[in-house]
């Protein structure tokens, strides 16, 4: 019998500053820089979309930046990461340059998928980021497979398998939970609960609490505030330790909010302006973290300004680079369908 760890509700951030995940000022500045890079990049992407330079579906990560930044700061380099189409934030923090990411969004030869994947399909396998998938829920089974491989290879790695609140409803997610629990696979299931599955609010699509969906399988779960990067880091660290110790999977439901529409074409009429404004004003992860850096960690305002300037420059440069890059060569159409047999021999 697996003992079910008692689920706790929301982790408290006040303890986080002096806990084992206590931040040095260098680390704090790094987190701030990363979150800001994602936000500015996404704002620019939204702008390029409006100019017709990015097409199709384009899902922005604005509002959710603390999740990927926070989690990345507490896991080990050998760990693997996989997510769905809302992947720009991941891509930027897992080794893809802003240039290569923006060039992919605009379908250029210099894009990280050489213009053939687009906004939803970006990867950085050398940094253990496995993409970038368009079919809701599919990445959760694949993430369970990455965890299977960690165990098989005994490399002490954990897979961080991301999904949205909507994805959590997919049948293959439950099937994955079962196998992961049965075989004690090292996988941290991360539910980015941004309150909406497209235009359907969580209470209209999901019965019960998402972090408790593993209970029947003996998988512990926990809910944490994803707008508070310190609380998030703290809880995530403990969850990762649990998974890494060989106890099997763990479900982390991270409460967050996306500021923009589901994808660029979504006018987001299903929610009120007040709801969004309230979050932006009171719970914005970047704004609040900046205040913490200034007021509690006593980081110099000039240093922060410096970061902001640098980030702005990176994003401007990425947009220029993307626009100046050529479209893929037409011969690219026929490449990458299969690997040549020599290369797998």
């Amino acid at each position: 019998m697996t003992k079910i760890k008692k689920v706790k509700k929301v982790a408290k951030s006040d303890t986080a500053l002096d806990s084992e995940t206590k931040l040095s000022s260098a680390e704090a500045k790094k987190l701030y820089r990363e979150m800001l890079l994602i936000r500015r990049f996404e704002e620019k992407a939204g702008q390029l979309y409006g100019m017709g330079l990015i097409g199709g579906f384009c899902h922005l990560y604005i509002g959710q930046e603390a999740i990927v930044a926070g989690l990345k700061s507490v896991h080990e380099p050998q760990d693997t990461v996989i997510t769905a189409y809302r992947n720009h934030g991941h891509v930027l923090l897992y080794g893809v340059s802003a240039r290569a990411a923006m060039a992919e969004l605009t379908g250029r030869s210099t894009g990280c998928s050489r213009g053939k994947g687009g906004s939803m399909h970006m990867f950085s396998v050398e940094n253990n980021f496995y993409g970038g998938h368009g079919i809701v829920g599919a990445q959760v089974s694949m993430g369970t497979g990455l965890a299977f491989a960690h165990k098989y290879k005994n490399d002490n790695g954990v897979c961080l398998s991301y999904m949205g609140d909507g994805a959590a409803d997919q049948g293959q997610v439950a099937e994955s939970y079962n196998m992961a629990a049965l075989w004690k696979l090292p996988v941290l299931y991360i539910i980015e609960n941004n309150q909406y599955s497209m235009g359907t609010s969580t209470k209209r699509h999901a019965a019960g609490d998402l972090y408790r969906r593993g209970e029947g399988f003996g998988i512990p779960g926990e809910q944490v505030d994803g707008m508070d990067i310190l609380a998030l880091r703290e809880t995530a660290k403990q969850a990762l330790d649990y998974v890494r110790s060989g106890e099997g999977p763990y479900i982390l439901e991270i409460m967050t909010y996306r500021y923009r529409g589901h994808s660029m074409s979504d006018p987001a009429k299903y929610r009120s302006k007040e709801e969004l404004a309230d979050i932006k004003d009171n719970r914005d992860p970047i704004k609040n973290f900046k205040a913490l850096l200034l007021n509690e960690m006593k980081i110099n305002e000039d240093e922060i300004k410096e970061i902001e300037k640098e980030v702005k420059e990176i994003v401007r440069d990425a947009a220029d680079f993307a626009q100046q890059s050529s479209l893929p060569d037409e011969s690219e159409l026929w490449t990458d369908i299969l690997l040549p047999v020599e290369s797998v021999a």
Binding site: G55, G56, E104, G111, K116, G117, S119, Y270
Partner: protein
């Protein structure tokens, strides 16, 4: 009557074996359950038990005979009071009758050109399954249009659904974002307001299960319309569509039908990458038990939607994002129902037949315009139905034009074009002045970059080039 003892099968796959040994001999009395002979295959040996009792009259296959086919009579058992003499005549006549019966297949001179049959009966499905060319359901394309108004493709689909929902309380719509959001592509705009949340239902993202749920509801007599936001996501549910919806009627010997409509955007809306752009016409067209339609015009959209909802079988509608916003003249009549199984000649011509469906009809018509300027008079067929495909209209057209090109958004391998090529060779080979040609997507996963994507999907110029190769 004497009883024939037949060569038994040791396993379901065994077709023949060796009759190695007779344990009983002619004239022996046999009880049921007694072992009378031994047979063997390369895999095993088995004893043959008598099922009935009597006297072993004649051994018809000697011990040691190899390659005895399963079900061949190997001996005759005489029942009480029968003698060898009394039965000899009747055996001979019986076995000769048997032979004739098994050989009495329809004589296949039809192989070169199978019969063409004009029927308007319920036998259509049987004849279709047998690959026979039958005249499509009758329908006066022109007068049935009646009064029209300008509607977009999405409005036409919506009107088709709404009219049927007003007509039949058992019809409901289930899918992701169909209700409060009015549909991801706004196809169900206003339907929640009109029909309420009992009949317009937002589902979680659980394609496999909500498809199964819809099928269950259909089996109990409701008429669900299941919307897939994109047909790409129906791959999550394809087991339910094929194994449950399409096959159950057959497996239940006609007892349990499934009046359901599956529908969604199919093909490439543009710039959404390889996982959101596939054409599934040939996937579903492959499945007996399923009907598949792919409307092009607004009239197709409305008329086929209504036909699909009224059909007692599972019908899958392949819609196209690029047609949702296109305007057409659409009949306002609530009785405008386009029969499933009937293609439409959108443009008559005498030099070459171009067969297309969905968005490709636009491209085929554009190509035909340009070909006309170059002196080639093309006939354009809008398939409308993928399955049962209207073989008649295709074959009749080829007989007239002697050349045919199929156009589709899907990949070439085992595509709709492959089926058309096979069909034309089988039924109109002698009429062809050139090989059957196909225009398909490039055989690669669809790339994102605009220039590469444009290269993939058939454009009018690709059709023109292909047509000209045939002259």
């Amino acid at each position: 009557m004497p009883i024939e003892i037949l060569m038994p099968a040791l396993s379901p796959t065994m077709t023949e074996g060796t009759l190695s040994k007779w344990i009983k001999h002619e004239g022996d009395k046999i009880e049921s359950g007694e072992i009378i002979a031994e047979i063997e295959t390369d895999k095993a040996t088995m004893e043959v038990e008598a099922v009935d009792e009597g006297i072993l009259g004649i051994i018809m296959v000697e011990a040691g005979t190899e390659n005895v086919s399963v079900n061949t009579p190997i001996a005759i058992l005489l029942e009480d009071g029968e003698t060898l003499e009394s039965i000899e005549n009747s055996i001979e006549s019986a076995s000769s009758v048997n032979k004739e019966e098994t050989l009495d297949m329809p004589q296949e001179d039809s192989l070169s050109e199978p019969p063409v049959i004009k029927v308007q009966t319920k036998n259509r499905d049987i004849l279709y399954a047998q690959g026979i060319i039958i005249e499509p359901p009758s329908f006066d394309e022109f007068t049935s249009m009646g009064e029209t108004s300008s509607r977009t493709g999405r409005e036409a689909l919506r009107d088709g659904m709404s009219e049927e929902m007003r007509r039949d309380q058992d019809v409901f719509l289930l899918g992701e974002e169909v209700a409060e959001y009015d549909g991801a592509y706004k196809v169900s705009q206003g339907m929640l307001a009109e029909f309420g949340e009992k009949r317009i239902i937002d589902s979680p993202i659980t394609e496999h299960a909500f498809t199964g749920l819809g099928i269950g509801a259909a089996m109990s007599g409701l008429k669900p319309i299941i919307e897939f936001m994109s047909m790409d996501f129906a791959m999550q549910a394809i087991d339910q569509i094929i194994n449950s919806a399409a096959k159950t009627l057959y497996m239940a010997g006609g007892e349990l039908g499934c009046p359901i409509v599956f529908r969604g955007q199919n093909g490439a809306p543009g710039k959404v990458g390889a996982q959101h752009s596939q054409c599934y016409a040939s996937w579903y067209g492959h499945i007996p038990g399923l009907k598949v339609v792919a409307p092009w015009s607004g009239a197709d959209a409305k008329g086929l939607m209504k036909a699909a909802i009224r059909d007692p079988n599972p019908v899958l509608i392949l819609e196209h994002e690029l047609l949702y916003g296109q305007s057409f003249d659409v009949p306002i009549s609530e009785d405008y129902v386009v029969p499933i199984g009937r293609a439409k000649v959108e443009r008559t011509g005498s030099d070459v037949t171009i067969v297309a469906f969905s968005i490709m009809v636009d491209r085929a018509l554009a190509a035909a315009e340009q070909l006309a300027e170059q002196g080639i008079d093309a006939e354009v067929i809008n398939l409308r139905t993928i399955r049962p495909i209207d073989r008649w209209t295709i074959i009749e057209s080829v007989k007239k034009t002697n050349r045919i090109v199929s156009v589709e958004e899907g990949w070439p391998y085992a595509g709709i074009g492959s089926e058309i090529a096979a069909m034309v060779q089988e039924h109109a080979f002698d009429y062809l002045d050139a090989p059957v040609a196909r225009v398909c997507a490039k055989d690669v996963p669809l790339p994102y970059a605009t220039n590469l994507e444009t290269l993939c999907a058939p454009q009018p110029i690709d059709i023109i080039v292909k047509v000209k190769e045939l002259f």
